[in-house]
Amino acid sequence: MSKKPSDINGHNSKHKNKKNHGRKKLIRNIISVIYSFLLTVCLSIILLAVALRFGFFDKGMTLNKINESDYYNSVYAELMDNLDTIVDSKGVNKSVLTDVITDKRVYINGKQFIENSLNNEDTKVEVDNIDKELLAAMETYYKEHNIKIDSNIKADMDATISAINSEYIRMIRFQFVDYIRQYKNDIYSVFKWLLPLVSVIGVILIILLILVHKYPHRGVRFIGLSFVSSGLLCMLMPLYLLVEKTYQNISTGPKYYIQFLQEYVQWSLSSFVYTGALAIMISVILFVVMQMMKNRIR
């Protein structure tokens, strides 16, 4: 039976509607892909901030890694070697250092420097009358050995004390921690305005992704995909570096410093992996929610 003209027109309009509907769906998907990518960028920036906060810039972790590397004892040993060389070159007896430069003093001053640096406070090294104690120790030594302190010996004493003070401060100042503090301040000054901005943009993109689709669960799907992507972006490269153990190629400085750096870098890279994994977990939750929303429609 041939179709009536009205039937043909109806069939044609149905076909046109289907075509229009297909085109609209394509445009919605393209827009969603774009929004989803932009949301991925925003989420990646947020994840980067989180990973840095709990990794490279985590004060507690840094202090733990310093303690684990036996830093203070090692600095004390190295400092004493250097000071022995200084007093030897000045013709002063090493015994003057014995009760003045102690491991306890190095620990207190060193820890204070590191904590002050990480807290963004004044990083003056507390020298606690080292120069006065050294002077007293030297005067006692010369007195005990019946050596008269003339102007030449006085000049040598001053030079020695000055050199010891300078070397003490130099070794106490853990410059690496100071560098981390500087970088943290620089990066946080950018995050101060960047994080609120990307958060607002992210929220707007999430709302748009839900609104652009007839069924909200489709928008939630794209949001979930953004979380997966940002999680992978955050974790893949650090995971590769961890697996390849590239941090074990660090070879600058003394052994205790290398040990500290390796553990510090390893933890910091791990924080990126954990942060990325968290984002992926959130995406799994979103996919579950999406499925529940979809089932409700049915």
């Binding site: 989803s36 190295e78 060389t85 070159s89 003056k124 000055s162 070397e167 560098y179 997966v228 003394p254």
Partner: protein, 224 residues
């Protein structure tokens, strides 16, 4: 294509595409930033080592000149003994010498040596530096009032102008006063000049006052 297969591909292809584009953006478009970050990390690891001697670094000097001399004692990178941590220059006198912290034979062989009992550049105290008249301080012979010196360090640049010269015995402690609370560059070398075979008991001193407008860094002891 089956819608389920389509959706599954979407779950795989879209994240892969986003990650790929993301890494392309980071490493190719943001290549300079990545390199800068890598360099900074390397710098922090190398120069942050507890035993880093803080030798003179041209890049740190340029950064200090750009940002202005440091103002706090805690920002002054203290050099290890026998480390060349500054450069002393006088174009007129033909002097260009590495300044070593410590006046040892090794320092004098490779440059000029700073007496460790004197102050650091920029810290408002006298700085006593010696050198051989047969090498790095050969030009000191012609020094007179008005001549200028420039000192480059990792924490700033400092300028000095000669105020006077003096000949004194090597053992004459009145030739300089290191307890002064005023910055003074005191350079000395053996006198008479050039006589290498004879034991020389005198020294030629050149005194210079600071002339740049940079801040005075206070060597604050924590008891003050």
């Amino acid at each position: 294509m089956n819608p389920k297969i389509k959706r599954t591909l979407l779950y795989i292809l879209l994240p892969v595409a986003y990650v790929a584009i993301g890494y392309v953006l980071i490493f190719y478009c943001g290549g300079d930033l990545v390199k800068m970050v890598k360099d900074q990390i390397g710098l922090a690891m190398e120069k942050g080592a507890p035993d880093y001697p803080n030798g003179f670094d041209e890049s740190l000097y340029k950064k200090a000149v750009e940002n202005g001399n440091v103002e706090q004692w805690s920002e002054v990178p203290l050099p290890a003994i026998n480390t060349s941590y500054a450069v002393l220059l006088s174009e007129k006198l033909g002097i260009e010498a590495n300044v070593y912290y410590g006046d040892t034979d090794e320092s004098f062989s490779n440059g000029v040596g700073q007496y460790t009992g004197s102050g650091m550049f920029g810290c408002g105290r006298p700085i006593l530096i010696g050198g051989h008249d047969t090498s790095y301080f050969a030009g000191l012979e012609d020094a007179k009032a008005g001549d200028t010196f420039t000192v480059k360090t990792n924490y700033g640049e400092f300028s000095y102008e000669v105020t006077k010269t003096k000949i004194a015995k090597a053992t004459d402690s009145s030739a300089f006063d290191l307890e002064k609370t005023e910055e003074q560059l005191i350079l000395y070398t053996c006198y008479p000049f050039g006589k290498v075979t004879k034991e020389r008991e005198e020294r030629f001193f050149v005194y210079a006052k600071r002339t740049d407008n940079g801040p005075v860094i206070k060597e604050v002891s924590d008891n003050e």
